[in-house]
Every structure is written in C-alpha cells, then in structure tokens.
C-alpha cells in the first residue's frame, strides 16, 4: 500500500496543485471581462459575485475545470448513455476519426523511418546525402504545406484518409529515423567483429545483431512518433475542410470563440496521445522483458 502511495501520491498532489492554479488562473483571466461587463452595465461587483461570474462565463478566457469537465462529459459519457456514442456531436466519434488517420500515419511514418534508417546505416551514399535534408525537412512549417499536400494529392485522385495520414507520416518519420540510425549503430565494435568471425551475412547481422540492439531506441522513438503523428493528424484535418475529427473541433471552437469546446478537444487529444504512448510503453515493457533487456 505504501508502495502505491509512493507512486501515486506525488501525482495526485501535483494534479491537485494544477487544479488550484487552474481555478486561480480562471478567476484572474476571466475577471477582466466580468469587470468590463459590470462597468458597461453600471454596477459594482462584490468579490464573491466576481468569482461566481468568472466561474460561469459563456466565452471565458480560461474556462475553469468544471466547465471543461462538464463539456467533456456532455460530449462523451452522456452521449454513450444516450446511445449516441458515434453521433457527430460526440467527442468519441471525433476521436475515432483522428485516431484512424493517426494510426495509419504512424504506421507509414514508422515504415518510412525504418527504411531510411536502414538505408542510411547500410549505404554510405545515403548516409552522407540524406541526413541534413531530413533535418531541413523538419524545419518546414507543416501547417504551411499541409494544404498543398492535400491539394496535390487530390489532384492525382487521392483523398480521404490517406492525405491526412501523409501529413502524420511527415511528422512521425523523423524521430524514427534519428532513433533507429542511432539504434542500428549501437552494437559496439566487438559485437560486430564477433559476427565477422562467424562470417555472418549482412542479413544475419541485421536480424541477429543490429535489429535486436536497436529495440530500446526504437521504442523511445515510437513514443515520440506517436505523439507527433497525432499532431499531424490534427493538422491534416484543418485543410481538408475541418469536417470531422479533434482538429475540426479545435478549429470549430476557434471560429466561434468557444473556448470551452477548444479546451475539451485539447484535453481529449492529450488524453488520446497519452493513452497511445502508454500502450507503446506497455508493449515496450513486455518486449524488452522477453528479450531480457529490462529487469
């Protein structure tokens, strides 16, 4: 029991601290509008009236947690209870839309990343030519070229899930390349020499040495890539007409100044990312344990 508190206790404390700060922030940020309103109405606000007002504005600068919580419940749990989990007003539906392109993009990005890493490790020309451009590619603001990618893919007849996934891929392949290049190069000289003494083929060297030793790097990169892929999916939703998905909710909230909706979409996205990363973490634990690389 003490062990549990040891792990959970600090987290709970910090979460409570965050909530306190959040409420304080809501009061501080929202009171300007409350004052503004009161001044225009020509009334004086007492402190308690002021606080009450900041807790319940329609378009607060910073919605307090209970407002965001209520909105999330209204668009998730409540929807489920009413049997409309997949209606357009349900965040579950929008999360699913985003999730599907996230996962596709993640798979594509991981595949591309690993392929490039293998190329870079095994081919000297690729090693010397590609890396600087991979870095440069990540300095291009994706939001700027996302619409072009969508339009260009559209022009050659590709639409739907794939264009969004391509943007996810663009963001997620980078951490995989960097991590895998490091990982595939992590066997030390001795281990490589050993393979040489047994006259192992390139294939054997890859499967029996380089790939297993890159596993810890791979999983770390996959976590980063997953988070990046989710961001990519959200970015990709904007120029496809922001029809559906968490990105559309964010944007929709933005158009209409619905801060509560923005925050609830934002937190849902973060929870989704945390869950996806968590799943990779669990897989990592199991795989590494089976491989004897973690205690």
């Amino acid at each position: 029991m003490r062990g549990l508190w040891f792990r959970i206790g600090p987290i709970i404390t910090v979460v409570i601290a965050i909530f306190v700060l959040w409420y304080a922030g809501s009061v501080a940020l929202n009171s300007a509008w409350a004052h503004d309103k009161a001044k225009r109405a020509g009334v004086e606000l007492s402190t308690s009236e002021l606080i009450a007002d900041t807790m319940n504005q329609k378009k607060p600068k910073l919605p307090p947690p209970h407002q965001v919580g209520a909105e999330i419940w209204k668009t998730t749990g409540d929807m489920v209870l009413r049997g409309k989990a997949f209606s357009k007003r349900s965040l579950i539906y929008h999360s699913w839309i985003t999730l599907s392109s996230t996962l596709l993009g993640f798979v594509l990005g991981t595949a591309l990343g690993i392929a490039l890493a293998v190329g870079i490790v095994y081919n000297r020309t690729m090693d010397m030519s590609i890396m600087p451009w991979v870095i440069a590619s990540q300095t291009i603001p994706i939001l700027a070229i996302a619409p072009m990618i969508i339009v260009v893919l559209n022009a050659i007849g590709i639409s739907g899930l794939l264009p969004k996934a391509v943007i996810s891929m663009y963001l997620s392949f980078f951490p995989v390349v960097v991590g895998m290049v490091k990982g595939l190069r992590s066997p030390d000289h001795m281990q490589l020499d050993q393979m040489k003494t047994w006259n192992a083929s390139g294939n054997q060297e890859f499967w029996k040495l380089r790939l297993p030793s890159s596993m810890p790097y791979l999983f770390t990169s996959l976590k980063v890539a997953m988070a990046a892929s989710l961001v990519g999916a959200i970015v990709g939703e904007l120029p496809t007409g922001a029809v559906a998905g968490l990105g559309a909710r964010l944007l929709g909230g933005s158009y209409y100044g619905q801060t509560i909706q923005i925050w609830s979409a934002l937190l849902t996205a973060a929870a989704l990312a945390a869950a996806l990363v968590g799943i990779i973490g669990v897989i990592q634990k199991h795989v590494l344990k089976r491989m004897g690389m973690a205690q």
Binding site: W33, K59, Y93, R249, G257
Partner: protein, 307 residues
C-alpha cells in the same frame, strides 16, 4: 448522373444554405447531377483547389477571384447568388470610433488569405496608410474569431452581418455599444460568394450543360432557403460533420443571409461587376488588380439556366 464537386469558401454554415438545400431536397438529383459539397476552412484557397482539379466549381469572393485571374488562373464567374455584400467593420464606441475619420491611429482587425482586398481598397480610398506608418491605421491579421474586439486588442474587427457580428453580441456586447460600418454603405462593397469555374472547361459543351443544370438547381435551393429559413438552417445543421454549429446561431445566420441573396436571381449584374472592379482598381499606389479584367464573367450559363 453527372458528377459535380463544389468547393465552399468556408466551413459548413448557413452562408451556403442554398447548396445544401438543393442537395437535401433532391434539386440536384432532379437535374441528373451527383453533387459533392466540400467544406472549406481558413487554410483552403478555393482557387488553388480548382487549379489542382479538386473541384469543378468553387465559391469565391470576386476580389480574390480577379486577383487569381491576374496571376494566370483563368477563373470565370458563372453565377452570383449574393447580391449584396455582408462585410462590415464593427467597432467599439468606447474605443473612440464613431466615423471613418476616427480610424487613423487605431488598430483594426482584418482577414487576410485573399479576403483583405476590399479592406485595402477602402483604406486607400480613405487615404489611410496600412503599412503602420504615421497617420495611418495599424492592421492586425485577425484570426478566426472576434476575440480582439472583446479583449480590447483592436478598436474594430472585420465581421460579416450574418456571422461574426452576432458572436460579438453573444459575447455580451450590446448593439448600442457598437459602431458598425457596412461596406455597402461606404460605397466599397465588392461581390461575395460567386460561383467560379475554369475558363477552359467552359469551352466544353457537356461541362457547360452540367453547369447550367447545377446553377439552376442551386438557385432553386437558394430561393427555397430564403422562403424557409428555419428549415434551411436545420438542413445545414444536419450536414455539419463537425457537430460544432448551434441551431440558434444557424437560424439567425440564415435569416441574415437571406437579406443578401434576396436581390439576385443568380445572374451577375454587370453594373455590380464594374463597381467592384472600379473599387479594386482605385487603390492608389497599390491596386488589387492592375487592369480591367476581360472575360472574367459570363451570362452563358445563367441565360440558359434561368430562362
């Protein structure tokens, strides 16, 4: 049925009710058309989409369409369901703005992305510099919403009669506290939400025919929406995949939009076109277009569609 893809200029909302009504009520189907409506958004340039072959017909504002035409992308206006402009500049009285003479030295929120042209030509008509120099105005690139006026970051923001204006009202400011400058009233109105197609496509008779049927059905949709605003708003709501729109807001938007489409049967009034062009070319040192556009509109479609 013939496939037609329509690219909207903005997200699904009552601003585009006519098209959704036509789709929902089967007006397109009656004309033998299979129409796909693609919602737009802040990152979607309809002209770019049509250039990339992603749409057969796009909705755009005329200033931006004419500017694209000068860039070498031959867009042609085939129909103009919006008679009047819904653009306005909404200011807070307590920021000290009561007439255009008060703009100097103030901060004004403006939409860019090709939507800034009407504003720029208005300012140059007023003789106000927009590059931040003395005696001019400070221009902000306004985001998607009306926050700057609520937060007091700008004295005025751009609004549409049917949309952003009501967001300001919803946020708690009253009409009495606001000063509104409609572009129509200031004599700088430009045409909004026209239907545009690629000039080269028009040479194809089959395409022409498709457009004739499309425009006819769309206008039928518009007229239906004008007379049944609340039902039209609900149809829009049904088509909004993001689930972000509210019934109240869309119904109000529909009733405002109806005022703008009221005067048009779909055919472009050449006088409106000339007025728009004059306004764009009068822009002093920095006109939006440099020469009078030729062939930027046609009555070929509406003549067949509406008679």
């Amino acid at each position: 049925a013939d496939d037609v893809t329509l690219q909207l200029k903005w997200v699904t909302q009552a601003q585009f009710a006519g098209y959704y009504v036509a789709l929902d009520k089967g007006f397109y189907a009656d004309e033998g058309l299979n129409v796909t409506i693609k919602p737009g958004g802040p990152d979607i340039a309809p002209a770019q989409v049509i250039a990339g072959g992603g749409a057969d017909v796009v909705l755009d504002w005329m200033p931006s369409a004419l500017a694209s035409r000068e860039k070498g992308l031959a867009l042609v206006n085939i129909a103009q369901p919006f008679k009047s402009s819904g653009m306005m500049l909404t200011c807070r009285k307590d920021a000290g703005v009561s007439s255009p003479d008060d703009f100097a030295g103030k901060t004004l929120g403006v939409w860019f992305f090709g939507n800034e042209y009407p504003f720029l030509s208005w300012m140059s008509k007023l003789g106000l510099a927009t590059d931040g120099s003395d005696g001019g105005v400070t221009v902000l690139k306004q985001g998607f919403n009306v926050d700057p006026i609520l937060q007091g970051q700008a004295a005025c923001v751009s609004t549409m009669t049917y949309n952003e204006y009501w967001q300001i009202i919803d946020a708690g400011l009253t009409p009495e506290e606001l000063m509104v400058f409609k572009y129509e009233d200031q004599g700088v109105a430009t045409l909004e939400d026209g239907m545009y197609v690629m000039e080269e496509n028009l040479k194809d008779a089959a395409f022409q025919d498709k457009m004739v049927r499309f425009v006819r059905a769309s206008m039928k949709g518009w007229k239906w929406a004008e007379s049944n605003p609340d039902d039209a708003a609900m149809i829009v709501l049904d088509n909004d995949a993001s689930g972000a729109q509210t019934e109240e807001h869309q119904k109000r938007m529909m009733s405002e939009v109806a005022k703008l489409t009221a005067g048009s049967n779909g055919a472009l009034d050449p006088a409106d076109f000339d007025r728009t062009v004059d306004s764009l070319m009068s822009g002093g040192s920095d006109p939006v277009i440099t020469k009078k556009p030729e062939g930027a509109w046609t009555h070929a479609i509406t003549d067949k569609a509406l008679n």
